[in-house]
């Protein structure tokens, strides 16, 4: 009975994840001409449109020297987070199985 419950949970979760992935893929497939820019670069344009005199008064202390390095840091960020999540649930599952 317990096994059935876990199986149902797996199916439910996989379905939820699949739906999330679909949500992200659909714009990629349907909007062929979009450039999917990182949108924060556009803020400046919108702001100068509203207030032409505004100049950013401070710039980042350090910037990733290239797109590759930026990707590297973003990937590390995601990997560290995902690693911890995996560790956490692995630990819980192991504990639960050991108790049985």
């Amino acid at each position: 009975m317990k096994n059935m419950k876990n199986k149902n949970l797996l199916v439910k979760n996989l379905f939820l994840i699949l739906f999330t992935v679909l949500l992200m893929i659909i714009p990629l497939l349907t909007l062929k001409n979009a450039d999917f820019e990182g949108a924060d670069a556009m803020v400046g344009k919108v702001i100068t449109q509203v207030n032409a005199d505004f100049k950013p008064w401070f710039s980042p202390l350090w910037e990733p020297p290239s797109g590759e390095i930026e990707t590297l840091i973003f990937a590390l960020q995601a990997a560290v987070g995902a690693g911890f999540i995996g560790y956490y649930f692995g630990l819980l599952k192991g504990r639960k199985n050991a108790h049985r």
């Binding site: 419950k5 939820l16 739906f19 714009p27 949108a39 400046g44 344009k45 202390l61 639960k96």
Partner: protein
Amino acid sequence: MKPLKIFFIIFTIMVLVPRVAFAMHIMEGFLPIKWCITWDLIAFPFVVMGILSIKKLVNTNPKIKMLLGLTGAFAFVLSALKLPSVTGSCSHPTGVGLGAVLFGPWVMSVLGMIVLIFQALLLAHGGITTLGANTFSMAVVGPLVSYLVYKGIKKAGGPLWLSVFLAAALGDLLTYVTTSLQLALAFPSNPGGFMTSFVKFMGIFAVTQVPLAIGEGLLTVVVINLLSAYNEEALVALSVVSKEVCCEEYEE
């Protein structure tokens, strides 16, 4: 006929909405100094409340540390994922709804700020001068909305998955509504003033963030599902699920 019509309307909106989206956090130096200070001052007491709230949680239940780590890690992963959206630009979810559901509204102010500092210093994403404003939108308003939505639906007797889904999705969405508000306050349109700017920022924002907010809601439900399967004691201790519910499920 009807679903087709709805699809057509949505499609038209998608095509007509300008392909600019300013998204995510307010960039370094892009907020006038007086607004930077204002938002720093407004965000500060919430961060203090967050620190006190974490201290209290850990003191009453030392085992909770790992779960705190999990919610931090969840926000860390989701903030790193810049996802494509229907407006043809990218934005990222915030991942703060989970912590708000588990620990109440204040804990994420600290964890969210840590994520923002990391991204400001190492990724030039967001900024130190705009940290107060970004902390307020992502780490104060987002979790607070999530918490209220979660509590409201729970009180009305809605199912756990629905309360968690809507809490996370609306917290995500309202974070970006707050960012639009902050930008509109700092940059009122010359003819039209605050409201014109707000509508302009919002029109772009709401549409970009909607699918991401739905995605965040779904993923938060996945985590809560896993927690209720493997760490029910913690959820009971945090009164996310009540004892009766968990025991009923066991007997199924």
